[in-house]
Each structure stands twice: as structure tokens, then as C-alpha cells.
């Protein structure tokens, strides 16, 4: 396994997708060579007041150009700082981290909610099987066009401005979508809904989780989620999201 070292990487380009959502391309040859969909990168701030990493999922991998794409929302001071970087600037990164999705050759449903959508793009690209893609937003959409070449895209918005009015499950039901496997990323309430839905249709589900992190590599035990069974490493009912995750089979964890 190649080492996820902490290094300074050059920014190729950064654009604003919509209000507060940024699209960052980093020159990361080594990472691009080994990274898979669902893995994440720890970004570090320059401001010495902010020491902990900002974990951001990999949105797209361009192995040929050696680029990694990250799409993130500004929610605090760290992402705000990062959003001000320009092409040619350098950013401290560590990655790729975590396990990523396991690609299974079964009829797939890809479900993303809000800022949980970006990690699903590379997955949609790499999944060669039959697939439907459901993307849920509050109001303004982003990245949905990028998904279109990889499958049928269904949208939901809370305000009904685009697609189904409601959440992703509403859209799934409206369109009567089913699958043998579900891949999902989004807010916890959505993941709970997805887990339940998967169960109801007898599909397996891989869910990408979030938690506050410190080390990002499995040492500090900050980022755990509850697991159904005793975890092999921790010997308690806790799994490390940064190491055993961020993607888990829905049945293995308690949301």
C-alpha cells in the first residue's frame, strides 16, 4: 500500500459552483494514481490558529493528468480559507485516506444528498453496471450535469424548484426506482432513510459517513461510529470512520 503522506500540492484551478460551493482541482499525481471513489483527503489550513484537518471526499480522479477534484461547501473558517486559494497556490494535503466504496457489479442506485453528492461522481464514473442516480438538494443544484453521462439522474429539492419536491426517498418512490445495491452519501437523517429503504427492497447499501477528525489515519479514535459487532481493531462496538470507513455496509453500523 502506498503511503498517504502529508504534502504540499499545487492548485490547478478553483471555481465557485454555486453560492458557497467550490470546485477545486489539485495537482496530485501520486494520489490520483492510487485513489478510489469514496476515499477522502485531509486538507490543512495555512492559518496557524486552525490546526486540525478538513476531510474532503474525492469527487473526481483524473489519472492521466494527475489531478484530484474536490467539491466542498464553505461552512466555517477553514473551508472559507481554502476557498480563497487560487491556481498556483499550494495547499497541504494528506491522502488518499479511508477505504472508499467497494464497486459491485449489481444493479445500482446512487443516492446523494447536498454536499454528500460530490464523492458519488467518481463512483458513478467507475461503476460500469446499470445505474440510477438520485440527487437531493435544498434548493440550488450543483454537479447534477456532471452525472448525466453516467446514468439516469433524478433530482429532488426541498422547495420543489427542480425535480421531485421533497427528499431523495420521495424522488425514488415517485420514480419507482429499485436496485440490488445502493451507494449513498449525505446527512445522517438521509442515510437513516436510505438504510431503511434498502432494507425494504432487500438491497445492500454502502453508506459514507462523516465525523469530526483529528489524525485522519486511525490513531486518535476521534472519528468513531457505532458498529453492530465488536470491531476487529478496537475490540469494542466502534469503528473508525477515517480508517475502516468512511464507507460502511449499512448493516454493520448503527446510525
Amino acid at each position: 500500500m502506498s503511503l498517504a503522506d502529508k504534502i504540499r500540492l499545487k492548485i490547478r484551478q478553483q471555481d465557485r459552483l454555486e453560492d458557497g460551493v467550490y470546485d477545486l482541482w489539485i495537482e496530485a499525481k501520486d494520489m490520483a494514481a492510487t485513489a478510489g471513489p469514496g476515499q477522502f483527503i485531509s486538507l490543512y489550513c495555512n492559518d496557524g490558529g486552525r490546526l486540525l484537518p478538513r476531510p474532503i471526499s474525492i469527487c473526481e480522479i483524473d489519472k492521466k493528468e494527475g489531478l484530484i477534484r474536490l467539491v466542498y461547501r464553505v461552512i466555517g473558517k477553514g473551508t472559507d480559507e481554502i476557498s480563497r486559494f487560487r491556481s498556483g497556490d499550494y495547499i497541504e494535503c494528506m491522502g488518499p485516506l479511508g477505504n472508499g466504496f467497494s464497486l459491485e457489479d449489481k444493479k445500482a442506485l446512487i443516492i446523494g444528498g447536498g454536499i454528500g453528492i460530490p464523492p458519488l461522481l467518481e463512483l458513478a464514473k467507475q461503476l460500469k453496471c446499470e445505474k440510477d442516480i438520485v440527487l437531493g438538494y435544498r434548493d440550488l443544484t450543483f454537479l447534477d450535469k456532471d452525472f448525466e453521462s453516467y446514468g439516469n439522474v433524478y433530482l429532488s429539492t426541498e422547495d420543489g424548484s427542480v425535480g421531485t419536491k421533497g427528499n431523495v426517498i420521495d424522488a425514488i418512490i415517485e420514480h419507482g426506482l429499485t436496485a440490488d445495491i445502493i451507494y449513498a452519501c449525505g446527512p445522517t437523517p438521509m442515510l437513516r432513510g436510505v438504510k431503511e429503504y434498502a432494507k425494504s427492497i432487500g438491497a445492500t447499501a454502502q453508506l459514507s459517513l462523516e465525523e469530526r477528525m483529528a489524525c485522519g489515519i486511525g490513531a486518535c479514535l476521534a472519528c468513531v461510529c457505532q458498529s453492530k459487532d465488536l470491531d476487529h481493531h478496537t475490540n469494542v462496538n466502534n469503528k473508525r470512520i477515517c480508517k475502516e470507513g468512511p464507507v460502511f455496509y449499512a448493516d454493520d453500523i448503527i446510525l
Binding site: K6, L51, M94, M213, I217, A219, L221, C223, V224, V236
Partner: protein
């Protein structure tokens, strides 16, 4: 002695604590380095003076609910709550792993009761670990931890109790959340500690003003990182003035210069904690920084620097 001779003179970084010889004064702060596995990709564990492990208890502990960490200005709060797989897994899996490296092993010991501390100490005494660090200063657990560490009478009592069960040298890890650190240090010394380590984290809190709630599920957490370094250096200095036993200093060490402050204040060894999260090679940078300083200033033996401040 001319300059050339000075420069080729071998630098001695070895230190002794409790009869154990460490190849250099740099170890890891308990709980920030796991049992070394995750960092062994980044740092040659054999280059470290010692690896200090996460707290180990009799039975597996699940720790606290999440969120367990929060970023603060120049530091972080943690409320892991001493999650650990328990002593059986430690002895079966982590210890053999660590023994495969040429470094010393310091095991951090936690318990909910004095009996639990003693049980872990007794079992580890039979194993191949080098030293035990008794954590009576964790602010994140309801029972045990800090409850033992804030009152000199209890500190002396628990120290002499675990002392009886230990065939290994004992380090007592002190809490900074006290009025008079010198008094606590003296209590540990009186109880028979071979060394003391400090500081554990300072109790802190962060409030999420949008949710109007505590950010950490545990409400309070332990503050670590460079923000706390001035407090840690002061306490190491005061403890060094109060006791004769050696001191392992920690709290916000990010580089060799930070480590040297602790050593000059009176620490025989230093531990690198939160810095590992920010730079997985932090331990190595600390070692290299100390060595570079010694070369630059023509210091042949690290012992010349221990407690040298103001002299």
C-alpha cells in the same frame, strides 16, 4: 579543543529514567499515537526514545459518544473517554508489534478504581514493557482519571498502591487542573513514583453557538496543542523545582525548539502529542530539531541542557 574537534564530537542524546536508558529524550504522548501502528508508516519507531501507548484498562472501554474532538484556536479539545481494547488485546497484539522495534515501551494505565489500576499494573509488570505511566489526570471520564489526580493525598495514596503491584518503574501523569502543581508533584514523589509526566490536558469547553449546545457530546474535553505550551512549560519548571525525580514534559510540543523549552525547564524527556495529528512525522522533526540545536551550540550531551534555564 578546536572547532573541528568540537564538530566531530559525538552528540549524546541518551537519558535515564528509573534505571531505563532511552536512546534519546523523545517519546509520544499517550493517546495521540495509538500503539504506534498507524504512525509506523511515517516514522521509524526504532528511532524514538520510547513509544508511550494509549491508556490501557482491564476490560475494553468504548469511550464517549461523538463528537469527540473540537478544534480550538491553536489547539484542540478531545473527549475520547479512554476508548481502548483492554489489556488482553494489548498484550496479544500491540505489545508484540512494539517489541519488533528497537525502542522502549511505556504503557499508559487507566482504571475506574484503584483496584483496576493495580490489576493492569500487575499484569503489565509480568510483560515485556519497560515502564508504566499511571494516568490519574484524564478529564474525560466519569470515574477514575482526574478524580485521583487533583488532591495530593489521593495522589500519594494511589501512587503507593500501584507501586506495590509494579515491578517496573512507575511514572505518575499529573493533571494541570490544579492550584499547586508542586504540591501534587511532591505527593507523587512521596508515594514512590520513579518519575512524573505532565501535563495532561486542561479542561475546556466549546459551545456551538448555532445549535446553542456543547460542541462535544461529553460537554467538556481536554485542551491540548501549542495553545497550552506556556502553561505546560511553567508547570514543568515548578515541578522540577519541587521534586528530585525525573520529569517527562509535554503540552503543545510542535518542533525541536518547543521541546528544548521543556528540557531547559527541567524535563529529562519530552512527549509529542497533538503535533502528530498535524504532522505525522512530528516526532522525527522534534528529534532532529533538538539535535540540530545541540550541534549549532556545541552541546555534547543533552544532560547539559536539562533544567539549565536561568543558570
Amino acid at each position: 579543543m578546536n572547532n573541528k574537534d568540537k564538530n566531530i564530537k559525538k552528540i549524546n542524546m541518551e537519558v535515564d529514567i528509573g534505571g531505563i536508558r532511552f536512546k534519546n529524550p523523545v517519546t509520544t504522548a499517550s493517546g495521540t499515537f495509538g500503539s504506534g501502528m498507524e504512525y509506523s508508516d511515517y516514522v521509524d519507531l526504532s528511532s524514538l526514545g520510547a513509544v508511550t501507548t494509549k491508556g490501557v484498562s482491564t476490560n475494553p472501554w468504548p469511550g464517549n459518544p461523538t463528537p469527540r474532538v473540537a478544534e480550538t484556536y491553536g489547539g484542540m479539545l478531545n473527549a475520547i473517554g479512554l476508548q481502548n481494547p483492554g489489556i488482553d488485546v494489548f498484550l496479544q497484539r500491540d505489545l508484540p508489534f512494539l517489541k519488533s522495534y528497537d525502542t522502549k515501551i511505556i504503557v499508559n494505565v487507566v482504571g475506574k478504581t484503584a483496584e483496576e489500576y493495580c490489576e493492569v499494573v500487575e499484569r503489565l509488570s509480568e510483560s515485556e514493557v519497560d515502564m508504566l505511566e499511571i494516568n490519574i489526570s484524564c478529564p474525560n471520564v466519569k470515574e477514575g482519571g482526574i478524580a485521583f489526580g487533583q488532591d495530593p493525598i489521593r495522589v500519594e495514596a494511589i501512587t503507593s498502591q500501584v507501586r506495590k503491584y509494579s515491578k517496573k518503574p512507575i511514572i505518575i501523569k499529573l493533571s494541570p487542573n490544579v492550584t499547586d502543581i508542586g504540591e501534587i508533584a511532591r505527593a507523587a514523589e512521596a508515594g514512590g513514583a520513579d518519575a512524573i509526566s505532565l501535563i495532561n490536558t486542561l479542561t475546556g469547553m466549546k459551545i456551538d453557538i448555532e445549535r446553542r449546545d456543547f460542541l462535544l457530546a461529553n460537554k467538556i474535553g481536554g485542551l491540548s496543542g501549542p495553545a497550552i505550551k506556556p502553561i505546560a512549560v511553567r508547570m514543568v519548571y515548578q515541578a522540577a523545582c519541587a521534586v528530585k525525580i525525573p520529569i517527562i514534559g509535554m503540552g503543545g510540543i510542535m518542533n525541536g525548539e518547543d521541546a528544548l523549552e521543556f528540557i531547559m525547564a527541567g524535563a529529562t524527556m519530552v512527549a509529542v502529542g497533538t503535533a502528530n495529528f498535524i504532522n505525522p512525522r512530528a516526532t522525527k522533526e522534534v528529534m532532529d530539531g533538538i539535535e540540530a540545536y545541540m550541534v549549532r551550540n556545541n552541546i555534547g550531551d543533552i544532560k547539559e541542557l536539562i533544567g539549565c534555564v536561568g543558570k
